[in-house]
């Protein structure tokens, strides 16, 4: 009996010792990782013979100009045009002036890609600005990578800057940053346990939801419950029923503004906090969410030039009849950032890329923009309550 006790004790000691040894062992280092600081364009085309000629230097905008997101697209065009007009006060070198050319990103089967190619080849845009749509950002990046065109994007898909490509610049917080902020607040700040993640089945929904699940995993939190919505959204009743049954303390929405609007209308009166991805911060969601105090999102640190921001809001409202969304402010900043880069680089895509890559800090109406070597905006963001 004593022998058995000793054996059990020895086994326990061995197992404990083994566990301790494992705890003390160094963590496995990955074989390789991308050095963000080393990302660079080593190709040609910086010479003057590759400069874009003509009286107009065009900035291309790829945005939703039809369909359910038309309001968003119209606001982006209006904001971009405001930026062009503001920059026109002082012409570029050689008397060239800036112009905006906008093309539609909607349509099935990657039709946006043809519009992107037209912007680059036919319109000869010096740079592209893309909306919050992650697919459009990827398609632009693929074309830009082959033809050598800088792309400034509002899309939050983190993967566009995780691939060693030197042409893409993101001026918004990516999905990974948003997911981290949400998860910190949900699991650490509030110690919620019943968390429901609702995402769309499209590219952006999948990518965002995966980032949130990774963020939860890093905090060693239980995996969130998850509902993936097939698009187009036809019947919200089964989803509402699930939400009522599950009674989540936190509802994380990685959807478009249209889907988020349907969900918010369907669950009005329900308790719990709502965490909203950046892409959904558009009309019609903003109107429906007005007055609610339980909606959280991630926003950039506000730049010091508060008066410029206020002036932008007033002018945008006077021009369009409605207040600008955060995306409208961001596209305004994107165009002005490109314009300032052009003043440094001249009308040349490769040199403009260099100018954007080496830009230290830009204080825009949407916040501070400061790119790291991979094109991520490394400016601070924080979780904010939607008001």
């Amino acid at each position: 009996m004593r022998a058995i006790r000793n054996l059990i004790a020895l086994t326990f000691w061995l197992v404990t010792a083994e566990a301790c040894a494992q705890d003390n062992s160094p963590r496995t280092q990955p074989y390789a990782s991308i050095d963000r600081a080393a990302i660079n364009y080593s190709g040609p085309d910086r010479e003057a013979s590759r400069d874009l000629g003509g009286p107009e230097i065009k900035i291309g905008l790829i945005a939703p100009l039809q369909g359910a997101r038309k309001l968003e697209g119209d606001a982006l065009v209006a904001a971009a045009q405001m930026a062009i007009e503001d920059e026109s006060a002082s012409p570029l070198a050689d008397g060239q002036h800036l112009a905006l050319v906008a093309r539609d990103e909607t349509g099935l089967w990657g039709r946006a890609s043809s519009e992107i190619v037209k912007l680059v080849v036919e319109d000869r845009a010096v740079a592209l600005v893309t909306s919050s749509d992650g697919r459009a950002a990827h398609l632009s990046e693929q074309v830009g990578n082959r033809l050598g065109v800088p792309v400034v994007t509002l899309a939050t898909d983190a993967t566009t800057t995780q691939i060693n490509i030197p042409w893409l610049f993101r001026i918004v917080a990516n999905d990974a940053v948003q997911a981290r902020e949400f998860a910190e607040n949900i699991y650490r700040g509030r110690a919620f346990r019943r968390v429901l993640l609702i995402s769309e089945s499209d590219h952006d929904g999948r990518a965002g939801a995966e980032e949130f699940e990774k963020a939860a995993q890093r905090l060693r939190a239980p995996a969130p419950m998850r509902i993936a919505i097939a698009l187009p959204l036809e019947d919200t009743v089964p989803i509402m029923n699930k939400i009522r049954v599950l009674e989540p303390q936190a509802l994380v929405l990685w959807t478009s503004a249209v889907t988020a609007t349907h969900l918010l209308e369907g669950i009005s009166g329900a308790r719990g906090e709502i965490y909203l991805c950046r892409k959904a911060l558009e009309e019609p969601f903003l109107s429906v969410a007005r007055g609610k105090r339980n909606i959280w999102t991630v926003a950039p640190a506000v730049a010091s030039a508060g008066s410029e921001r206020a002036a932008f809001i007033d002018r945008f409202r006077a021009r369009t009849g409605s207040a600008p969304s955060l995306a409208a402010a961001e596209v305004y900043d994107a165009v002005r950032l490109i314009a300032q880069g052009l003043r440094q680089s001249g009308p040349n895509r490769a040199r403009l890329r260099d100018a954007l890559a080496t830009r230290t800090e830009y204080h825009g109406v949407s916040g501070i923009i400061a790119f790291d070597g991979a094109g991520n905006n490394r400016a601070e963001v924080s979780l904010v309550q939607l008001q």
Binding site: T28, P30, Y31, A32, S33, I34, R36, Y41, S42, G43, P44, D45, W109, G110, R111, S113, S114, V117, V121, H138, L139, Q142, V143, R146, L147, G148, A158, T159, Q162, I163, N164, I165, H203
Partner: protein
């Protein structure tokens, strides 16, 4: 007896070491807008016997007898000016041209065009095209299309009917020797199509992390695959990524990064392979791997003097640098093709014809007084060459400027 044994060992070793010397491209002939190609940015190539076709940002060009024979643009009937892929149908000489505005078939001196609106083509933005018997495979930004030229029937694969994590297809490599076709997919890894079973199987990045590689030979090195090539001799499939080179032998994966190989850069636009040769078209030069000996050769243009730099990385990672009088048109390499022992290289600043010259090769190796035993013994000093690659005596290879 001991002395005799020593001499035999020495001779055998010397023979083996001599055999390790990789073959070299010693002369480059370049084509730019200055000598007739329509645009300096060359995306793709196809070799049809003595004829070389090149796709540029502004049309299609035919090289014959060492000069530009003809340029084709949209005015001639080409569907779009930006040419991203070319394939030759060896059965009838037809040319299939993938562009940023659809697919063109060049047959009997006439272009016939296929677009998304006029045919079953999935999307007009094409990154690659390949011919396999009577099938024409097309890599589009919305997935894979296949035209059966015997029936005129189109068939498409995308995320809606096949295991594509993302549909953005960048390259195609038929592998008829093993009954497969491989696709390079941006965000979707490498996809294997089995002809007999008519099924597709994806190979993705097993660590599921975009910015790191967890283990060296973990599987596909990165989920964004920029192009793919099949080696009919070794039956290996090679994929290029912007995070290294990846090879698949049907069972194991073999990954190469700059950190422990002779690769010029981890940013690779395309691979090519035959025999023991594996080539990587990078943004910082053209790299060659002798897969059998694990010896690397990287070709670069010296930006200061325009000469060719040949960097040999031996299996023990020591390097020898030689200098040739001519060089690639540019170090940003987009694609390449074989033509006998020669190679053709598409760069972002011109088209390059790489030529092997055994005499020049011997001279370069001879001038460098290459001695692998001394190289091993004296790290840094290498093969007794100066920084510019020439012997310290100052003797330069014939023909150098």
């Amino acid at each position: 007896m001991k002395r005799l044994l020593f001499i035999v060992i020495l001779l055998v070793t010397a023979t083996v070491l001599a055999a390790e010397k990789p073959p070299l491209i010693t002369r480059w002939e370049n084509f730019t807008t200055a000598n007739g190609i329509p645009d300096d940015k060359v995306f793709c190539l196809a070799v049809d016997g003595p004829r070389v076709w090149a796709g540029t940002e502004d049309g299609l060009v035919l090289i014959e007898n060492g000069k530009v024979a003809r340029v084709y643009g949209t005015g001639d009937g080409l569907v779009h000016r930006v040419v991203m892929g070319i394939a030759v149908d060896k059965r009838n000489g037809d040319l299939w041209i993938g562009t940023f505005g659809g697919l063109s078939q060049f047959s009997g001196g006439q272009f016939k065009n296929y677009t998304n609106l006029t045919s079953g083509l999935l999307n007009d933005i094409i990154y690659g095209v390949a011919v396999q018997d009577y099938w024409v495979w097309v890599a589009t930004t919305a997935g894979i299309s296949r035209l059966d030229t015997s029936t005129g029937e189109w068939r498409n694969w995308s995320e809606f009917n096949a295991p594509f994590h993302e549909p953005w297809s960048y390259g195609i490599a038929p592998a008829p020797e093993i009954g497969k076709v491989y696709f390079a997919v941006w965000g979707g890894g490498m996809i294997e199509y089995d002809i007999a079973t008519d099924t597709m199987k994806p190979y993705t990045d097993p660590d599921e992390e975009m910015e790191l590689v967890l283990f060296r030979n973990q599987g596909l090195v990165h989920i964004i695959v920029s192009n793919v090539a099949f080696n009919p001799d070794t039956k290996m499939t090679w994929g290029s990524t912007y995070f290294g080179l990846t090879g698949y032998d049907g069972r194991n994966w073999h990954n190469y990064l700059t950190k422990d190989s002779g690769l010029a850069s981890d940013f690779i636009n395309a691979p090519k392979s035959r025999g023991n040769e594996v080539w990587a078209c990078t943004d910082k030069g053209l790299s060659f791997l002798d897969y059998k000996t694990n010896t690397w050769v990287t070709y670069r243009r010296n930006k200061q003097n325009g000469h060719g730099e040949i960097e040999i990385t031996w299996p023990d990672q020591k390097k020898t640098t030689l200098e040739a009088p001519t060089s690639l048109a540019h170090n940003y390499i987009l694609n390449m093709e074989f033509q006998g022992k020669d190679i053709w290289v598409a760069t972002a600043k011109g088209l390059s014809h790489g030529i092997r010259e055994p005499q020049m090769e011997a001279q370069l190796y001879g001038n460098a007084k290459l001695d692998r035993r001394s190289t091993r013994g004296r790290q840094g000093e290498g093969a007794k060459v100066s920084k510019d690659g020439f012997p310290k005596s100052g003797q330069r290879p014939a023909g150098s400027q």
